[in-house]
Amino acid sequence: MTDFERRSIISGIGQSAVGRRLGRSGLDLTLDAAVEAIADAGLTTADIDGIATYPGAVGGAGPGFSGPGTPEVQDALRLNVDWHSGGIEGAAQLAAVINAVMAVGAGLARHVLVYRTVTESTEQGAGGRQGIGIGGAGGGRDAPRMGGALQWSIPFRAYSAANWLAMNAHRHFHEYGTTPEQLAMIAINARRNARLNPKAVYRDPMTLADYLGCRIITSPFRLYDCDAPVDGSTAVIVSAAQHAADVDHPVARVEAVGTALRGRPSWDQFDDMTTMAARDAGAQLWSRTDLKPTDVDVAELYDGFSFLAMTWLEALRFCGKGESGPFVEGGHRIALDGEVPLNTHGGQLSAGRLHGFGFIHEACLQLRGEAGDRQVRTGVEVAAVANGGGPIAGALLLTRQG
């Protein structure tokens, strides 16, 4: 059997400027990333016959969250496409990439431009992070009434995924004895790596004392457990595998995907609060490849909140269930020279919240040996990428070719 995944490669990558309050439009940033990725793939816009994004131009998801939809980008680049897709439901942000891999595998497209753009820093302005459903700064009588799934959290002042996932983290603490000092290592490791990444937004040193001394957002999450909103766009080109021979650099070959969701797709009703959807996406990924967790050279695992990287370490079986606390303790195993180098660019905690796509970009750089001072070693062969938290999860296993 030839699994559909292996019909695709990531032939090119591109990324705009990344920063706080760049003051540029999402489309402007997206075109920077797209043009760079297309050229990196050895292609021109005339070769691109597919386009995909997460989440598409959806309203109501928060200022600067969406980026431009595919029609806007298609038109700006004057693309002619045989397949196009944008949407917020699916295997986390990676759904856009995985959909493109499926489209290429199915023969609907040969070179798909996939991108994710955020302008959350500029559009949130000086007002700070906002909660969901309170209409901006501080609620009031004019806040909208809440229907759908959010009516079961927002009226109880659980306004943010920070609140929801903090309850998952406390269950993990309760069931497995996980400690704040262990959680801290995700943030400290990210900062340590960000210091070697010129594009990272936070590069000052961070000690355990710094971490423990910063303010609580929603226990057990402190400020440094929460990712940093930025502006930026990341693009990748998903191509038919045959194109690898026409590219002048190594490429990332798609080895396996994880898209499963086998519990109730709900932030507070999922059966096992300590694992959530990552559990099943991770298990499915390993069921679709002969590679093993010990084969992975670099792990780029979603850290919208620090705790999520711990759940992914468990879900992808780098450690046992419930064992991510001891696994990350001291930070040695997850360091650049450790057994599972984690979030080598600084993650979203320190490099900035590119919302999922920063991880796939970094995985490709590491596989290609182009990660500069933070390159984990020469000859990176296998990279794991994971996105999502709570009831949202998607994972991707990439290997180097060339």
């Binding site: 009434r145 229907g147 009516q151 109880f156 609140n163 309850m167 609580i216 957002i217 226990s219």
Partner: protein, 134 residues
């Protein structure tokens, strides 16, 4: 904790009105399958366990315990931080859970396993089911 000065209100409709107005008589209600006895939350038009359409609101004891929690310090709504957000489980059915707030005690008194009972905070036409130490 004093009552929240403000709460985002649910948009009441025929499916959720029973829940959000249940506290008018001091009782907490969930939808329950009349065929197999399964409590469901959030409400559904048919039972996910047996498929029956015969589902009706039924009151529960209102007693439960804290399954998980977070003490929120961030000012999202300009209210009275810190406050405790809790996930409550109920003895009536394993896995029946409700996100809510712990009230009538210091937020830092919250812990997993804390026995609680329901109290209601009325804002306009909605009775928010909250929980206090039992």
């Amino acid at each position: 904790m004093s009552p929240a000065p403000f709460r985002v209100q649910p948009a009441l409709d025929d499916d959720n009105r029973f829940f959000w107005t249940s506290g008018e008589d001091g009782r907490l209600r969930f939808l329950r399958c009349q065929a197999c006895g399964y409590y469901m939350h959030p409400p559904l038009p048919r039972c996910p366990e047996c498929g029956s359409r015969d589902v009706l609101p039924e009151s529960v004891s209102g007693r439960g315990e804290v399954f998980s929690f977070t003490v929120n310090h961030q000012s999202w709504d300009g209210g009275n931080e810190p406050y405790a957000i809790v996930l409550i489980t109920f003895p009536e059915q394993d896995g029946l859970r409700l996100t809510s707030n712990l009230v009538n005690c210091p937020p830092d008194d919250v812990r997993i396993g804390l026995p609680v009972r329901v109290v209601f905070e009325q804002h306009d036409l909605v009775w928010f089911p909250l929980f206090e130490p039992a």
